[in-house]
């Protein structure tokens, strides 16, 4: 269970996350939607204690991230794809993280197998494709067999098979009673993966609902999303004239 209480973050004068209060429950996949720059990644960093909130707090099973003793065994996170030292092998990256949280070294081989990187684990991460780095990131998230999973755009860069794999993986993890919080831009994909949705715009909560609830009364989920976020989109392209 993840609980955000009036979580607020400012960068300079700009508010990136604005008094966001949300509960993310276990047992279902919760999608985290919002236009570019709406504060999804910032929220995730604050949950992990990487960025300090200016106001409010983020709690995991009732405590702050920094208070967890072996955090990787409680929370698994995938932030940005490719956040690996290019000269270090995927296996060594995982082994280092496993050591830090007293996770048995055998688990490294296991998660590499789960994400389909057994054959590439000993190669330097700098030689991985985008999809392979994304898979290694998922392996990191799964490493401590955590009850809470936090994934920032996990399908970015994955091939269709990989996208389906992530979908089944996340749904399976949620079905085991875990809390799964996953951000994405792909609304159609979220409709297939998530049961609940948290939608934000300009850092503020716009909706906390089910997929069916959001789509109700609209032609499509996409339409519903655009209607909801139309007043809260910072970066919007225009046609070429």
């Amino acid at each position: 269970m993840i609980e955000l209480r009036e979580l607020t973050k400012r960068y300079g004068g700009r508010v990136a996350v604005d008094a966001l209060s949300v509960q993310v429950r276990p047992g279902v996949v919760t999608g985290f939607l919002g236009p570019n720059g709406s504060g999804k990644s910032t929220t995730m960093r604050m949950i992990l204690g990487l960025d300090a909130p200016d106001h409010g707090e983020a709690l995991i099973d009732g405590v702050r991230y920094a208070q967890l003793t072996r955090p990787l065994r409680t929370v698994g996170a995938l932030l940005d794809a490719g956040a690996f030292h290019p000269g270090r092998s995927g296996r060594a990256h995982l082994a280092a993280l496993a050591a830090s949280n007293d996770i048995p070294a055998a688990r490294v081989g296991e998660v590499l197998r789960v994400v389909g990187l057994s054959g590439a684990g000993d190669r330097r991460a700098g030689t991985y494709s985008l999809g392979m780095r994304q898979r290694l990131g998922v392996a990191v998230a799964l490493l401590g067999d955590p009850g809470v999973l936090l994934l920032d755009e996990p399908v970015n860069g994955l091939d269709p098979e990989g996208i389906r794999w992530i979908r089944d993986l996340l749904r399976g993890l949620a079905a085991e009673g875990r809390t799964v919080f996953v951000s994405s831009h792909l609304i159609a994909e979220m409709a297939l993966t998530a049961e609940r949705l948290v939608v934000i715009g300009q850092g503020r909560l716009l909706a906390e609902t089910t997929v069916a609830g959001l789509a109700a009364g609209h032609d499509s989920l996409e339409d519903a999303f655009f209607r909801l976020t139309s007043q809260a989109t910072d970066y919007r392209g225009t046609g070429v004239s």
Partner: protein, 251 residues
């Protein structure tokens, strides 16, 4: 802390740059030692033991740059690649992370520094074998101390690198700052001529060449032990600053 140190050790040994820099430091000192020895072989008048010894440790000037870069990269390499977020998510106590890096880097760089220092000394001595130049034995006054203190000095420069990396975060900027700190004050002190020594004796490079890596300190400088303690003090101050910055800033 023990677990965090294990993580740092796995990370340190699993990138090639670590080994290149370590080997580079040893080779630099061995080569300088051999070069000095060979250069003096046919020198007239016959070189003294102190001349050979002091100069044979001169490779430490290059070795310190390599090992301090190693220390810098242990921190900035993580910021550059984004790995720092994984690290801090795994060990949210940031001072523990920095302490673990300090321990692992310090232990590794001290070992490498000692090996390099002995390599410089031994290759210098090997290169003058069979000549009239008197050998400097480890039992002779000041010799063992100078070799060991040079190794410790090299370990301290790596820790200064770690601290500076935590403060500056960017590889290029941190290494640039570090090299600047090594050389610029030294040149500045040189401008003051004789009186420059009152400041000069506090400067790492001058301490290395005139107080630490020599049989007898140049007059006006601190003893080798005091100089090395000063280096350890510098490393402590910058590591503590790094700890403050690491705790305060967003990752």
């Amino acid at each position: 802390m023990r677990l965090a140190a294990r993580m740092e050790w796995i990370k340190l040994r699993s990138v090639r740059s670590t080994w290149w820099l370590a080997i580079g430091a040893v080779v630099a000192m061995a080569a300088a030692g051999a070069g000095v020895g060979l250069g003096y072989r046919s020198h007239t008048p016959v070189a003294t033991a102190a001349q050979i010894f002091n100069n044979s440790l001169g490779g430490a000037v290059l070795a310190q740059l390599l090992l301090s870069a190693l220390g810098v990269l242990m921190v900035t390499g993580e910021y550059g690649s984004g790995t720092i977020r994984s690290t801090l998510a795994a060990v949210p106590r940031r001072r523990t992370v920095l302490a673990a890096k300090t321990l692992v880097c310090g232990g590794f760089a001290l070992t490498v520094g000692l090996v390099a220092s002995f390599a410089g000394y031994l290759s210098g001595q090997l290169a003058i074998r069979g000549t009239a130049i008197p050998a400097a034995g480890l039992g002779d006054p000041g010799i063992l101390q100078a070799v060991v203190l040079t190794g410790v000095y090299l370990g301290a420069t790596a820790l200064i690198g770690v601290g500076l990396g935590a403060v500056v975060r960017h590889s290029g900027a941190a290494i640039g700052t570090l090299f600047g700190l090594m050389f610029v004050p030294m040149i500045a002190a040189g401008l003051f001529g004789e009186s420059g020594i009152t400041i000069g004796r506090f400067l790492p490079l001058l301490m290395l060449l005139n107080s630490i890596a020599v049989t007898k300190p140049v007059p006006g400088l601190f003893t080798g032990w005091v100089s090395v303690l000063l280096m350890a003090g510098y490393a402590t101050v910058i590591l503590l600053s790094g700890g403050v910055v690491l705790r305060r800033r967003d990752a």
